[in-house]
Each structure stands twice: as structure tokens, then as C-alpha cells.
Amino acid sequence: MGKYKAVIGLEMHCELTSNTKVFSSAENSYNDTPNANVRPVDMAFPGTLPVVNIECIRKALLMSMVLNCTQPEYMYFDRKNYYYPDLPKGYQITQMHAPVGVNGKITIDVGGKDKEVLIHDIHLEEDSASLDHYRDISLIDYNRAGVPLLELVTEPCFYSAEEAVAFLEYMRRIYQYCGVSEADTKKGQIRCDVNVSIMDEDATELGTKVEMKNINSFANVYDAINYEIKRQTELKDAGRYDEVEQETRRFDEETGTTIRMRSKVDAIDYKYFVEPNIPKYKITKEWLEEIKKDIPMLPRERKEYYINRLGLLEYDANIIIKEKDYADYFEECVDIGINPKTAANYLIVQIIAYLNKEGITLHDFYLTPKLLYQITSELDKGTISSKQAKEIFNKSIMEGKEPKTYITSDNAQISDTDALNSIIDDILNNNESQIEAYHNGKTNLFDYFVGQVMKETKGKANPTIVKDILRKKLD
């Protein structure tokens, strides 16, 4: 690039978790059976009316506060009118006039540096039905129709695909930390619209904005931005910048390119107006205060805490805050008395590796912090070796039995000096030639003797004590 600067803005749609849909009493849950989570209102049968789910408003307000937005005095909704087969009412209930939050900002970390992201607005709306296209027919599944969606719109404040994706990653984490969404891109719970323009490095006016709609993974957001920057740059270089049109494109995963959908000239007039079936709802200060109390410690704060107070390395802290589950697990470990570094080690080296291998989450992981404590406490006491600890850890999760069942007297580490003395004496008596060689300078044979002791004790001998005894006897 060099001479041009790219400017990127994001729209991030995130499905909220809730018992029921945002304007319907139908269940809000992922369901493999099409059209199972459906009430008459979800299919817009004549005479049905929307009823706001207060839980969704609460979650939307919570996110509005997390993003340091201004909340409106009254909550109300607007209709966005357009015809599409996935939109049964012929309009979507959304917020245009008074979004749940406006003018926010949040600081994120991009490659170790702080970046302030400006939030234009965040608003609550309903999702559309999903369409399955076949050769001759298309099928409509209304399970998703009416699922609560939070749409977050940033200012055009990103200058690279890295920044944009770092923000999306961080927001995904925030949604999870705040318990407002599972934010699982694989389940289609997050979808993004991205707009990209380029401009001369020293220019003050933004270039022509091109929007890419409905990108379903962060990797694709990254690729789409970079492709679009490249496409626009090439046109500008070739003196054909006027061919960059204000238009809507879509990202084609297979080719890694963006494809034109429609020009701005054909943009739909959504004829927004206030939804008359939902009365204005006063948002009181007291309610906001109450919601505020539910905002948990966010990843950036946690990271600082781990490094400055618990003495973790930044590298380790970064891994732990990546997922709220990790952070919660780690904090619970620390709370019940596991040494932070030990807990971090277990989590990063053993547990996360295991989860990835098995493709499961911490929720399905057998060894809770309390069970892990059974291992680490014995390790601290020296009753078991770290090798044994590892074995117990593995056995426990394989067999689904508490670690303490494996920490019995016969597999406990042998730290008894008398017992070890007699074992070592036996070994030394049977290895006279090696002793001679050792005394003649083959000092690396020391490890050979240690190995023999370990072999004899099936690895249960306390290595420190063994080494002490051996040194005394040999030197």
C-alpha cells in the first residue's frame, strides 16, 4: 500500500442468549428441527403482536454501558420495511431513532498496543428466518425468526484488517464475559458487515465507501478487507478510481474475492417509522444502576490483575483471558488456594491442550478446580512427583474418578529415607563395576544409578532424596 490509507468501519450482529425470542414467547435456542421454535407472531399470522422480552432489553443496556455509550431516556422501536422471504412481517423491528446506546468507545489491544475504538451506536433488533436453497426450491426455517440480535456499529476508525479483527475478537470475548451471548461464529451467532475505503495518506476526506454484507467468520472479515483494499488500490493505481463505486458487495469464500450485489443507487428505502405496537418504555436511573452491577470484570482488567497481582507472565495472561471459561476456571483455582503459577501452568499446558484435542469446552471438562486442587496440594506437600501428578491428572480425566482415588499409600512417592537407603544399597551391591567406573571419572553414570532406583521403585522414589543418598554413598 504505502501511499494510501485504508479506512474501515464495522457492523457486528450478535445473537443474544435468552429464554424466549425478543418479541415472541417462542423459545430462543438452537434447534435442529426446522420450525420447532415458532409462535404465530414469528410467522406473522394476521393479528399477532410483538411483546418485548425485558431480559433482552436488560442485556442490550448492559452492553451499551460496557461500550460506554449514552443510553436513551425512553426505550422504543422502529420498523424497517422491506420485502424478503426470510422476513415474514415484511418489516423488521429494530431501533433507528433511539438505539439502546450511542457515542460509545472502548479500548482494545492490537499487537500489544492500545487502540481506542469509537462506537457509533448499538441497537436491539430481531433476526430473520433462515433460508435453505436447493436446486429447484428454497425452504424457510422460522426458528431463527425473532431471535434477539444486538447490532453494534463502529465509526470508520480501523486502518487495517488486523485492527478490525482484533476488535471483533475482543468484542466476541466481551459478549461471552458479560453472559449476553455465546458469540459462537460456528453457530452463525455473529455476522458482520464491513465497509472499506481507501484514501491518499495525506488526504482529509474519506474515499468511496464499499460495503460487504453478511460475513460469517473473522477469518473471512480479514480476507475480505485485504482483498477489497487490494482491489481498490489497484484501481486507484491504474487511474481508474472512479470505478470504485459506493456499492454493496458480498465476500465469496471459495475465491476469496468480493462480488458486487447492488449499487448505492439501488439502495432500499426502508421507510423507518416508530413501531406502534410497543409503547415507549422509560429507562430509569435505578434500573441502569442495577444492570451496571451485573457487569463483570472484563478481559483487559483481568489481564492487568493477573500480571500485576498474581505474578503471571503477560504471555500466559493473554492465553487465559482469551476465553471467559479459561479465566473463570483460573480464578476459581486461585480462589481455592492453588498457586497462581501452578494453576496457569496446568490450564495452559495440560487442560487447554486436552480440550483442543478432545474438541470439548471447560463445561464438559471433568476436572473442576476443586478436583485439580486434590492433585496440586499433594504435589506441593511433596507426596507425589510431578510425573505422578501428570499421571493422576490423565487417569482422573480418562476414568472420570476423583484424583484422590489414585493418591494411595502404594502409589504415593517414596520419600522414606530408610526405605530408599536399603533399595539403593541393594542396587549398589549389584553394580560394583559401574561404581568403579564412576570413581574413575565416568561421572555421568550418576544418572544411571538414579535410573536404576526409579526402575526399582516404578518411578515412585522421590528423586531429590534419591540423589542426596546416592551422592553421600558414592562420593
Binding site: P40, M43, A44, F45, P46, G47, T48, L49, P50, V51, V52, R79, N81, Y83, P85, P88, K89, G90, Y91, S138, I140, D269, K271, F273, P276, N277, I278, P279
Partner: protein, 487 residues
């Protein structure tokens, strides 16, 4: 012995004493339905075998009634009198209907309306024109045309209506019966096919004020399916009617009902206005003070256009679900857009299409501020003006329309020129403010009934009913059944 011409109170006594059974009432009502259908074309569906409900302590138990066909009724065809829903059989019942069924009332038929309530003539139903039982050559007005015709003809003591501009209260006047829409949100709209949500009201048509109170007592109630509904459980309309109106103060809009303000009024119009003033005298004799109040003509003249703007805009959006994809007949076409277009092109009457065009135009980004937002502002101004007057007065009293029901073959006669438009359209004020509003018959001109309307502040339903009841008591039109005339 005929029963269906009687009031609910009386029928209830007869049922309780065992003199008549619900089954006999249903059979009589069904028989009358068929007769009236031949004459007036009032029904979309006559229910084959209505479910007989036993008579009990509830005033409405065992009483037959009609349902306007824009109420959703489970298992019973509900068309909104539109070809777009000509085969639509819902799988849920509107809350208001459910509430009546809980009382033991028995639905006999579904009545015809101007397509989706969007008309005032009874001529745009997909099943054809509805005729006025007083004179079959005349219209019933609309949109609750079939309900008004059936109640006036004595098919049953009450029928459900809906009212977005005057759709209950004008047909009531043209058919010589009572039409009442309570305060917005007193009755749940869940299951009422929407026309313009912020103006739509449920209500009823009856032949007496007390019957109207009994019916609304049963229909009303907060509903978890309608967020605009409110709890009125402490309001007992029927029990609260005592006819004590001495000391009440009403006003009429003087500049609208002053004959001197009209150039070349017709004889009919003069009779109508004079009849109105005569009715006021009756009220005054009851101890009610009635005063004329001048209201800025500019504000009044804005009423019809504000109504058109807001109702068409909301209607355009509300009826976007009618695509023939999920329900209603599938349109033909190569793709989904063509199919929707075909369905809507064939399904809607020209009148509705015209309103959709107006609504879309008004909502367009470049026009919204000028038309839609301004209409909302003027709506507010009109409502504020009324609320200000309601501080001094217990209600507004006005004649309904400019005279009697016009002839069907010459409806243009009635179409308002600017002179009389306010008089034709002032009932829309009741929808702007969500005010309780009732029309009762107050006389005849050329053997055709005319009506008078009383409108009051929100939540003041009991007051409205009481004044109407006191007036009704002093006039001979209570429980009147249409007598067909040839004129």
C-alpha cells in the same frame, strides 16, 4: 316467539328461567342469518354448527353474536373480507373473542367488512356489497358493515366491530343502532387484523347502551399478548351505569354544526343539523349543560388529511405480511418477488392499492418529515386541544356524518366536499386520542336513522356510557329493529 330482537338483559332472564334454551336462540339466529344474508349480503361465513354453550349466571352465556371477519377465529375462516385471505383458516383465536367465549357467548357468523377495515362504504368486501337493512338500496357505511346490518336487522343482540376512523360509530348511525369503542387498549387487539395499529380499536355494535356495556365488560382486559392493553379490572361498565347526568357539561364544535357556516345546505342536511340540536335540548332537560365551542378551523380541516397520512402509512407496513407465502393463496411467478407481486396484485381491491401507494409515498425518506412526521405533530395538536377541553367538559357531543346513509348506486353524493368534510370525519378525533366514543340513534330523516356521538377523555368510559344511557332513555330508539322501506 322471536327472541333475537331482545336486549341481552332480557334474554338472560329468559334463559335463566328456562323459557328459552341457548339452542333455540342459536337456531333462530342461524335462520335469521340466512334471511339477512339474502337481503343484505352481510356475512362472509355463517357457522354451520355453532358450539352450544349452556346458560349460566353470566349475562352473555348462551347469547348468539356475530364477529367481524377481521378477528382471528381458530378453525373458522377469517378473511378480513379480502381475496388475499379468502381461504385462510387461523389456528388461534383473538383475545377479545376468546373472552366472550369464556362468558359462554355463541358465535353465529363472521360479518363482512370493507377489505381489512379500509373503507367506509361496505362496498369493498370480497364477497360483495353489504346493504342497509332499513333500505337495501342504501349503504351501511363501514367498515363494520356486516355487523351493523346484522344487529340492526335483529340477527342477534350484538356483534363485534373494529374502528380505525369511525368504522363502528358511523355504520351504527346509518343502521340506527349503538356503536361503542372504548378507550384504546381497554380491549386487546391480539388477533384483530391490523389496519393502522395506533388508531385501531376493538368494539361492539348493539341495540342499547347497556348491552354495549355488558359486551365490552366481557371483551376487555389486559392481555400479555398486547403490550398496549391495560388493566381495567376495577372498571365495571354495566354496573356503573346509573343514568345520573345532572350537572354534566358537554360541548359541541360550534363552527362545524352551525348551519350558517354552510352555503346551500341540502334539506337533508338541514334536517340532520336541526335534529342534532333537538337532541341537545333533550339532554339539557336531563340537567346536562351543552355549550358550543369554536375550534380553529385550520386545525379541524387538518383532521381528514392527518388521518389519511397516518392510517395509510401504518397500513402499508401492517399489510406487508400478506405475500401469499405463508398463508393466503400462492401467487404465480418465476421467483419469489413475482409470486408476491401476483398475489398482491390479484388479491387487493383498487381502493386498498391506492392507500398503499399513498402510505408508501408518505413514508419515503424524502417525504417522511413533510407528511408523516407533520401528520403526527398535528395529531398531537388535535389531541392536546381535546384534552384541554376535556378539563372543562365531560365530553364532546356531535352529529354523526352529514345525514342518512347514501344510496349505493350513487355514493358520490355522500363524498364530502370541503364544506362538510369535518362533519363527515370528526369521529377520527376519537381514534387520534384513543378516546372512548359511542354513537346512539337519535332520530329519523326520510325513514332512515341518524345518530349522535359522545366522546370523552381516555379512561372516562363510564361517563360516556352514562350520558349515552341517559339520552337513550329519553328517546324511543332503544332496541329498534330495522324496518325495511322502499324509498
Amino acid at each position: 316467539m322471536m327472541y333475537m330482537n331482545k336486549a341481552i338483559e332480557e334474554l338472560h332472564e329468559l334463559l335463566k328461567s328456562g323459557e328459552v334454551t341457548p339452542e333455540e336462540l342459536v337456531n333462530e339466529s342461524l335462520k335469521l342469518s340466512k334471511e339477512i344474508q339474502d337481503k343484505c349480503n352481510a356475512f362472509v361465513t355463517i357457522i354451520d354448527k355453532p358450539k352450544i354453550m349452556p346458560a349460566n349466571e353470566n349475562m352473555l352465556s348462551g347469547i348468539p353474536f356475530g364477529i367481524k371477519d377481521n378477528y382471528s377465529t381458530e378453525g373458522i375462516l377469517s378473511t378480513g373480507s379480502s381475496n388475499t385471505l379468502k381461504d385462510y383458516v387461523p389456528f388461534y383465536t383473538a383475545t377479545a373473542v376468546k373472552n366472550l367465549e369464556k362468558c359462554g357467548a355463541i358465535a353465529i357468523n363472521k360479518t363482512a367488512l370493507d377489505e381489512f377495515g379500509m373503507g367506509g362504504t361496505g362496498t369493498t368486501c370480497h364477497t360483495g356489497t353489504v346493504h342497509n337493512p332499513w333500505n337495501l338500496k342504501r349503504m351501511c357505511a363501514g367498515s363494520s358493515s356486516g355487523s351493523a346490518a346484522a344487529v340492526a336487522a335483529g340477527v342477534y343482540p350484538f356483534a363485534l366491530g373494529s374502528d380505525t376512523g369511525d368504522s363502528i360509530r358511523k355504520p351504527a348511525a346509518y343502521c340506527g343502532i349503538v356503536g361503542y369503542k372504548p378507550t384504546y387498549g381497554m380491549i386487546s387487539r391480539y388477533g384483530l387484523f391490523p389496519f393502522a395499529s395506533s388508531l385501531d380499536h376493538c368494539g361492539c355494535l348493539t341495540r342499547s347502551v347497556k348491552d354495549a356495556a355488558i359486551v365490552i365488560d366481557a371483551m376487555k382486559g389486559i392481555d400479555k399478548n398486547d403490550q398496549t392493553s391495560w388493566d381495567s379490572s376495577n372498571m365495571h361498565l354495566y354496573e356503573s351505569i346509573d343514568g345520573k347526568v345532572k350537572g354534566k357539561k358537554l360541548f359541541y364544535i360550534k363552527n362545524v354544526v352551525d348551519l350558517e357556516n354552510y352555503q346551500n345546505p341540502t334539506e337533508e342536511f338541514k334536517k340532520h343539523i336541526n335534529n342534532f340540536h333537538k337532541t341537545l335540548e333533550i339532554l339539557e332537560k336531563c340537567g346536562v349543560t351543552v355549550e358550543g365551542v369554536e375550534i380553529d378551523k385550520t386545525l379541524l380541516n387538518a383532521i381528514p388529511s392527518v388521518y389519511v397520512c397516518l392510517s395509510c402509512a401504518e397500513a402499508t407496513s401492517n399489510m406487508s405480511n400478506l405475500t401469499g407465502i405463508i398463508f393466503g393463496p400462492r401467487g404465480n411467478g418465476e421467483n419469489i418477488n413475482e409470486m408476491m407481486k401476483d398475489h398482491r396484485t390479484k388479491g387487493f381491491s383498487p381502493l386498498i392499492k391506492r392507500r398503499f401507494v399513498i402510505g408508501s409515498y408518505i413514508l419515503q425518506k424524502e417525504n417522511q418529515e413533510k407528511y408523516f412526521v407533520n401528520a403526527q405533530r398535528v395529531r398531537r395538536l388535535i389531541v392536546d386541544k381535546m384534552k384541554e377541553l376535556f378539563k372543562t367538559y365531560d365530553g364532546l357531543i356531535m352529529p354523526v356524518g352529514t345525514g342518512i346513509a347514501p344510496f349505493l348506486d350513487n355514493p358520490k353524493d355522500s363524498v364530502s366536499n370541503d364544506d362538510v368534510s369535518v362533519l363527515e370525519e370528526h369521529l377520527q378525533i376519537g381514534n387520534f386520542g384513543g378516546f372512548p366514543s359511542i354513537t346512539i340513534p337519535d332520530g329519523f330523516i326520510d325513514n332512515m336513522p341518524v345518530g349522535i356521538n359522545i366522546t370523552s377523555n381516555c379512561y372516562d368510559d363510564i361517563n360516556v356510557l352514562n350520558i349515552a344511557y341517559a339520552l337513550e332513555r329519553e328517546m324511543p330508539y332503544k332496541n329498534q329493529i330495522a324496518k325495511e322501506s322502499e324509498k
